[in-house]
């Protein structure tokens, strides 16, 4: 997993509430057995005017120029600014994979759906919750200033604006540690293998029907 320390980048605004994971990456692309290559199909139905198919060369497809990610002023964006309940819907980790593959490192929104929020941390992406009023203000600033950039400082847990405003955000200590160091969660959990075995032995005695029934 990629480590996340400090990210400075152009902000692209996705100005609608309840952006769902079907929107972030439509189902036909979930047929891939790989983890990479989803970037060209990020927001496929909003980004292109035709229907996308897996394995297609997207460079020749007709673009929807009304969609922010197709506009020159947002080229090279690494930070998405979004509305409430971003990432609702399915548990598909293909959504953070597609964002990551496209080059997004951070999503800022007033709220996120639980499963998507969790999936981000397993893929080196940082989802940041800021107050709705701050998000509203950032939307206005992004619209007014071409090339508007934010700096995300994970060690300090703050977002700073070019105007010099600084907004702090919350992140769990464990998730922060993993993001900062790009650590694999499984390796950390396996350090507790003895505790898992002890629990398992006790649980098996208490609830034997939960073991060895599926063969």
């Amino acid at each position: 997993m990629k480590a996340f320390q400090i990210e400075q980048g152009i902000v692209a605004p996705i100005d609608r509430a309840n952006v769902d994971t079907d929107m972030i990456i439509p189902k036909q692309f979930l047929k891939s057995i790989l983890r990479s290559g989803f970037g060209p199909n990020l927001f496929d139905e909003l980004r292109y005017l035709d229907k996308g198919e897996p394995g297609q060369d997207c460079s020749a497809r007709p673009l929807n120029m009304d969609f922010v990610l197709n506009q020159a002023r947002y080229a090279g964006t690494s930070i998405l600014l979004a509305r409430k309940n971003f990432g609702c819907g399915s548990s598909r980790e293909h959504a953070p994979w597609a964002l990551d593959d496209f080059g997004i490192r951070c999503v800022i929104a007033p709220s996120f759906a639980d499963i998507f929020f969790n999936n981000c941390f397993n893929n080196g992406l940082l989802p940041i919750v800021l107050d709705e009023a701050i998000v509203d203000d950032l939307f206005a600033r992004v619209a007014a200033n071409e090339g508007y950039q934010l700096t995300i400082n994970l060690p300090e847990q703050c977002v700073t604006t070019p105007e010099g405003n600084s907004y702090s955000f919350e992140v769990d200590a464990n998730r922060k540690h993993r993001l900062l160091n790009g650590l694999d969660d499984i390796g950390i959990t396996l350090n507790s293998a003895d505790a898992i075995k002890t629990y398992e032995q006790k649980w098996r005695q208490q609830s034997p029907w939960l073991f060895d029934s599926i063969k």
Binding site: M23, D185, S213
Partner: protein, 472 residues
């Protein structure tokens, strides 16, 4: 000290290790696997040289990419037309064979949608923790299990460690009192709940569905309700154990037998919230107030009673919600103020992990019996949730009722709930669907989904538009 909620009890009994930052290592008793969200997890195991911690905790079956068409299904995996789908289903077989995981393969009688297969085989049991790389895993909470969807990294994590790092959610009680009116089903109950709390209303919470309406509900109905907890933002939806739960589980393939059964039932009786348990939020609805529901927009919260009208965006005060309604109506090709019953229905889909169980098919068959599909409805299909549901429905003659009415009888699959197989809703078509999501493009690029109950979908197939089943 206050008593414990059902969720508190399930959580407490599965804590392996409490961590300083408030997270905990939670033991996972069961993982269900399907072809879409598992290949990268197995690949991760291989790359790291890891083996599954406990093979017997896992059960797999392909469902999303599996054809529902009898001809495309006939030759097993080899006859799947779409090459990428075929590879994905084959990859599940290969991975399960390689790691020794039990799988119901494409044409096994027990194959079906994971959330139908788990409960009906007894792989889902009260008191267990259960995960699956699918957000509709909340379904299994109907058994007083702690069940939720996970991403693929977590699928791999559970395979490798039998645990997940979790933070405890807050407790929400959604109480539905009284009784339901004629023609009002569990699907209408859960849509009404989502309409009330909103699609993010349950975010951060584990929901317990309580009250007389759920006590009176069958297990199939409870599964429908818990299934859609995620559409209200909650990863977890649960119903406490009672006789209905225990009677359903008894005798199933993987359920405990003999002395162990007695021991298990004694333990399961405690899987209820204590009388003095404290919930962080409580929402109450009256069963008598709930009418048959139809979604008009592109979020499950955009829902109305069948005898109501599509809302007028200008009447919505919240600017973000107003903009969402305007966008939804444009996408859906509807006008604010029009009656829900005026919406023409082009296609009908009865199936999905929400509504493809035997009781759902019986409810749909009861509506169509002796009638004919409207000529204006170009296609109507029933896709049973599993081979066992299909077999039982055929033994009851339900297939013949559907076929006689001009409705297609299909093979078990997720099918047009998300259109990963060949069943795709054409652009611009309105579909009365018993599935769980009406997102843009969900059932097909440009497709327009209206979420309804099986009885409402069946009635729409007959009349070509939405009708109030309580008046039939």
């Amino acid at each position: 000290m206050a008593g414990k909620t059902l969720y508190d009890k399930l959580w407490d009994s599965h804590v392996v290790e409490q961590r300083a930052d408030g997270s905990a290592l939670i033991y996972i008793d069961r993982q269900l696997l399907h072809e879409v969200t598992s290949p990268q997890a197995f690949e991760g195991l291989r790359l790291a040289g890891r083996k599954p911690w406990r093979v017997d905790a896992n059960l797999a079956t392909p469902d999303h990419n599996v054809p529902s068409d009898v001809h495309e299904r006939a030759g097993g995996i080899a006859s799947i037309v779409d090459e990428i789908s075929r590879i994905q289903v084959q990859t599940l077989d290969d991975n399960c064979d390689e790691f020794g995981i039990k799988e119901f393969k494409i044409n096994d009688r027990e194959q079906g949608i994971v959330h139908v297969v788990g409960p009906e085989t007894g792989a889902t049991l009260p008191g267990m923790t259960l995960v699956c790389g699918d957000s509709h895993t909340a379904t299994h909470g109907a058994f007083a299990a702690l069940a939720h969807g996970v991403g693929t990294s977590e699928v791999e994590h559970v395979l490798a460690t039998q645990c997940l790092v979790q933070k405890k959610m807050k407790n929400m009680k959604v109480e539905v009192t009284g009784t339901l009116g004629l023609g009002v089903t569990p699907k209408d109950v859960v849509l009404a709940i989502i309409g009330k709390i909103g699609t993010a209303g349950g975010t951060g919470y584990a929901i317990e569905f309580a009250g007389q309406v759920f006590r009176d509900m069958s297990m199939e109905g409870r599964m429908t309700v818990c299934n859609m907890a995620i559409e209200g933002g909650a990863r977890i939806g649960m119903v406490a154990v009672d006789d209905t739960t225990i009677n359903y589980v008894e005798g199933r393939q993987f359920a405990p037998k003999g002395e162990q059964w007695q021991q298990a039932v004694a333990a399961w009786r405690d899987l209820v919230s204590d009388d003095d348990a404290v919930f962080d939020a409580v929402v109450t609805l009256r069963g008598e107030d709930i009418r048959p529901q139809v979604t008009w927009g592109t979020s499950p919260e955009q829902v109305a009673a069948v005898d109501a009208v599509v809302p007028v965006p200008a009447d919505i005060t919240d600017p973000v919600q107003r903009a969402a309604a305007e966008r939804a109506l444009t996408y859906m090709g509807l006008k604010g103020g029009m009656a829900i019953s005026e919406i023409p229905v082009d296609e009908v889909f009865i199936g999905s992990c929400t509504n493809s169980r035997i009781e759902d098919l019986r409810a749909a068959a009861a509506v169509v019996a002796g009638k004919q599909k409207a000529a204006s409805v170009t296609r109507a299909m029933v896709v049973p949730g599993s081979g066992q549901v299909k077999l039982q429905a055929e033994q009851e003659g339900l297939d013949k009722i559907f076929i006689a009415a001009g409705i297609e009888w299909r093979q078990p699959s997720c099918s047009m709930c998300l259109a990963m197989n060949s069943d795709v809703l054409p652009a611009g078509s309105h579909c009365a669907s018993t599935s769980n999501r009406n997102f843009e493009g969900r059932q097909g690029f440009g497709g327009r989904t209206h979420l309804v109950s099986p009885a409402m979908a069946a009635a729409a197939a007959i009349y070509g538009h939405f009708v109030d089943v309580s008046k039939l």
